[in-house]
Symmetry: C2
Subunit: 222 residues, 2 copies
């Protein structure tokens, strides 16, 4: 089985990569540069792919940034602080981002004759990101199966898992969490610790009782 993992550089997709390697799949990784504020995550994705010795490619959609403006992640709109699932996080939504990522991954998968693409959406994403909901991925997979004579499926093993469950799974697989990057501020190698994704990340380590190797900004007690 050949699986193309969409690898953001965050902890969920890092666990996803390890999950499919553990299952014996032939794995490649694809990252997407869509001009995101937190593009430092792409370096982490590359480092993770190197760590696991899997082929890595970064699809360059950075020129799309003006078209995707409106989100805090693709414009100068400030990144909100608070809990990931709060309504205030809606400003972080990049319109139709996941369809674009999955469409590009689908093209790559068809070109390399992969059996499936893998996508790390999880249950915690659903309240804020409509394009992480199971029904969205179901519908998009149906479209992808019709998009080419070659059949490519979309694997989403974590779609009903919490992030803490993903963290537990990753710890079991000895995922090098210190190589992953989540912060939406994307300022440096230190996570801000206060944006929605940082809050969610810290919470996941706490709930999973897994040591958090993240270097947070000085003002945040880890």
């Amino acid at each position: 089985m050949t699986t193309l993992v969409i690898l953001s550089g965050g902890m969920d997709s890092a666990v996803l990569l390890a999950h499919f390697l553990d299952a014996g799949h032939i794995v490649s990784a694809l990252s997407v540069d869509y001009g995101q504020r937190h593009r430092i995550e792409l370096e982490h994705a590359h480092a993770l792919a190197d760590y696991y010795r899997v082929p890595w490619e970064c699809a360059d959609l950075s020129a799309l940034r003006p078209l995707l403006a409106g989100s805090s992640q693709t414009s100068e709109v400030p990144v909100p602080y608070g809990h990931y699932a709060d309504a205030s996080m809606r400003v972080t939504v990049v319109p139709n981002r996941n369809m674009i990522l999955l469409a590009v991954a689908g093209a790559k998968a068809i070109g390399m004759a992969a059996d499936q693409i893998a996508y790390a959406a999880h249950a915690g994403d659903h309240p804020i990101y409509p394009d992480c909901r199971p029904e969205f991925v179901d519908a998009l997979e149906a479209a992808l199966l019709l998009a080419d004579w070659q059949q490519v499926r979309i694997a989403r093993p974590f779609i009903r898992w919490t992030k803490a469950e993903i963290c537990t799974r990753g710890a079991g697989l000895r995922v090098p969490f210190e190589l992953t990057y989540s912060c939406y501020e994307g300022r440096s190698d230190r996570h801000c610790g206060r944006c929605g994704t940082c809050v969610e990340r810290r919470e996941a380590f706490t709930l999973a009782r897994v040591p958090d190797p993240t270097r947070y900004a000085a003002e945040v007690s880890a």
Copy 2:
């Protein structure tokens, strides 16, 4: 009703633009540069948008060209000559191209709060391009409706029409066909007259009994 028309610069999408303007919609046009060999079509799309005085944007996905390699349209593989519906035309298929175009158009439509995107797939496309089939567009629209809290539909009024029927409709709307461009060779302002899209274009004008204003290469009798 606000409609974002995916405008390739070819005759089908030009007629689509005129079709929605005729229906009284507020229309914008989006073209996509995916590094296509026949990128001269983008200049024609721009000229058509100017002719109709509608806002035009070109989404720059040209950096995707290596990822999409394998098709004659995104690599050095020669463009085949012959009839558009022949099996030999499969080399012109860019993998998952239409899902990428529709995903990017969906993002733009969500950002501008458009009601729908419009897409000029037609019945003649189906034998070769799986992502022009009605069932593909149905499935992708279902996914797009789930991708965001804002509902954007996909209009495809020509999906069961022949190209000749589109040509007839365009003649009725006085579409400036001389501004449109179809040739997959994309060498110059002259159409080669022998590639699949040129053969299909010439056939459409003939069947529709509409004068063909196209400048073909010298060796082709128009």
